[in-house]
């Protein structure tokens, strides 16, 4: 508990720095390209179009996704929401887990705590995500899914997504500094993650209830469904299933606490692991 509070305090105290550093992070990644930061948007757009082409259009045409009794939406709109969340999550975890050991040599002797390193790396991805999110809102409205009262849920889900992703990246940043293999392990697990998360296909179509329940244990499912509820104006997802909300936050808090304890235990010796 003490560890959690300490790490939290560090995050807030250095928030200005976190923000500035995340901008430099993005800049240093894209300085060489002629199109610069535009690639941060171009890249996911390409990726989404490929998935859409393969799963939604030509090769394996999908039917509309039934959401409520009288609402079905075309696969592409349904998928695109999950995809954007997933791309943020995936890149944040991969880069977040590398964040400490790749920077430690440079950052070991600076006037800030190392717990903010994964934070600014995740935040730099989050900026990109927010950009994509704004585009997504435009696309949705142009396609006839208009702004509705349930958009009020967005701040909550945007925050929850960041907190959850950061917590997981924070745990991984310590683990993969100590054991580098974690990095490899993560990469292969996450590649699979796309297919076992409810992004490219609808969990409700699974007849087997146990499997469908197991799928829903994935915290990403909670977030993605929340976004979908809002975009398509289905309802208040937060209150729809309170137990699910409690479950999501328990997982997040456990991850963050575990990450804090682990981080504080090892941070003095990070440099010896490099």
């Amino acid at each position: 508990m003490k560890a959690t509070i300490k790490v939290l305090k560090e995050q807030f105290k250095y928030f200005y720095l976190v923000r500035r550093l995340s901008v430099y992070e993005l800049r240093s990644k894209n300085n060489d390209n002629y199109l610069g930061m535009a690639w941060e948007i171009i890249n996911p757009v390409f990726q989404i179009s490929i998935y859409w082409f393969v799963f939604g259009y030509g090769i394996r045409q999908r039917e509309d996704i039934p959401l409520t009794e009288n609402l079905s939406v075309p696969f592409i709109y349904w998928m695109i929401i999950g995809m954007i969340v997933w791309l943020f999550f995936y890149q944040s975890i991969i880069q977040g887990s590398k964040s400490i050991y790749t920077r430690i040599k440079m950052l070991a002797k600076m006037n800030f705590p190392m717990s903010i390193i994964p934070n600014y790396v995740v935040l730099s991805r989050y900026f990109v995500f927010l950009g994509m999110f704004v585009i997504l809102i435009l696309v949705m409205n142009m396609s006839g899914y208009y702004v509705n009262i349930y958009y009020l849920q967005f701040p909550y889900y945007l925050l929850a997504l960041f907190v959850f992703t950061f917590s997981l990246a924070f745990v991984m940043s310590t683990l993969s500094t100590i054991i580098r293999d974690i990095q490899m392990f993560l990469q292969s697990i996450l590649r699979m993650g796309l297919y076992i998360s409810p992004i490219l296909w609808n969990v409700d179509t699974i007849a087997n209830e146990t499997i469908s329940l197991v799928m829903k244990l994935n915290p990403l499912y909670y977030l993605i469904e929340g976004f979908r509820f809002s975009f398509f104006g289905i309802g208040w997802h937060i209150f729809n299933d309170p137990i699910y909300t409690v479950y999501f936050w328990s997982i997040t808090i456990i991850l963050f606490t575990f990450g804090s304890v682990l981080h504080l235990k090892f941070r003095r010796h990070f440099i010896d692991f490099v």
Binding site: L17, R20, L21, Y24, R27, S28, K29, N31, D32, K105, M106, L107, A108, K109, M110, N111, F112, I178, I179, R268, H269, I271, D272
Partner: protein, 266 residues
């Protein structure tokens, strides 16, 4: 006399592993695996404010490890260290990001050191002038020559005005004019009464600049005292060492390693 650095019974242990499985076992199991390598053993020394200390010793004697510990980059394994004020290490091109331009690097580094944007704007002009980078300041650092990099690193480090300055071979790169300029700056710091540590192989630089010398051998303090007392002795040692045949040198080196390596017990 105020004490600036006080180090008591400081040791630094590194682990040497024969294989990956050994490394893994050591991490997971309570029993200890692998050999211990003592980069520093029972180092005691004290520096007063205003001292300029040269660290000398042949390669692998622990000079860099000690200066890294004083700078707070590497943690010690045992013993205690007291630092009065903020220590800053200047190493060649320390912590510059190759993808960013020189200007961005200045901002980034100063931000991380806790300066506000306003202060940085003020410092920037001075840094750019001192580093003599001119048009290159808006080019990515990876296109810099090594001299440019170390000039920029040096300029940033001296602007932040630390209480204790640790200079690790930083002045050996760059041309003569810049080296002289840096020495001038160092002298200014010296006049201000800052504590400085010089890690160098150049006996001349140490003679000119330092008032005390810490001579390290096998990770232990061999001698610590005034420049005039120790440098002649060190010069003799270096002469002897140079005279040694290849075989003698390797025997000597092996002795060093055996001295510092111990089968570990946790």
């Amino acid at each position: 006399m105020t004490i600036s650095i006080e180090i008591k019974d400081l040791s630094k242990k590194y682990k040497l592993y024969q294989s990956r499985s050994e490394r893994f076992k050591d991490l997971v199991l309570p029993k200890s695996y692998g050999k211990d390598f003592w980069a520093l053993r029972h180092v005691d020394f004290r520096a007063n404010k205003g001292d300029v200390i040269g660290f000398i010793g042949i390669n692998g004697s622990g000079k860099s490890t000690l200066s890294n510990i004083i700078a707070g980059i590497v943690p010690e394994s045992s013993g205690s260290i007291y630092i009065n004020g903020q220590a800053s290490l200047i190493a060649v091109s320390s912590g510059l990001k190759g993808d960013l331009t020189g200007r961005e690097n200045i901002e980034l580094k100063c931000l991380m050191l806790g300066f506000s944007m306003k202060e940085i704007k003020e410092m920037q002009q001075w840094i750019i002038e001192f580093a003599e980078l001119e048009d290159f300041i808006d080019q990515p650092v990876k296109s810099y020559s090594s001299g440019m990099k170390s000039r920029l690193g040096f300029a940033i480090s001296v602007t932040i005005d630390p209480d204790i300055l640790i200079i690790d071979e930083a002045l050996s790169v760059g041309d003569k004019a810049f080296a002289e300029k840096s020495i001038e700056k160092m002298k200014e710091f010296k006049a201000q009464g800052k504590t400085m540590i010089f890690v160098s192989h150049s006996i001349n630089q140490i003679k000119n600049f330092c008032n005390k010398v810490l001579w390290l051998e096998f990770g232990q303090v061999k001698k610590y005292g005034n420049v005039d007392d120790i440098i002649p002795e060190y010069e003799n040692f270096i002469k002897e060492y140079k005279k040694m045949t290849k075989k003698q040198k390797s025997v000597y080196k092996r002795k060093v390693i055996e001295n510092q390596t111990v089968r570990g017990n946790k």
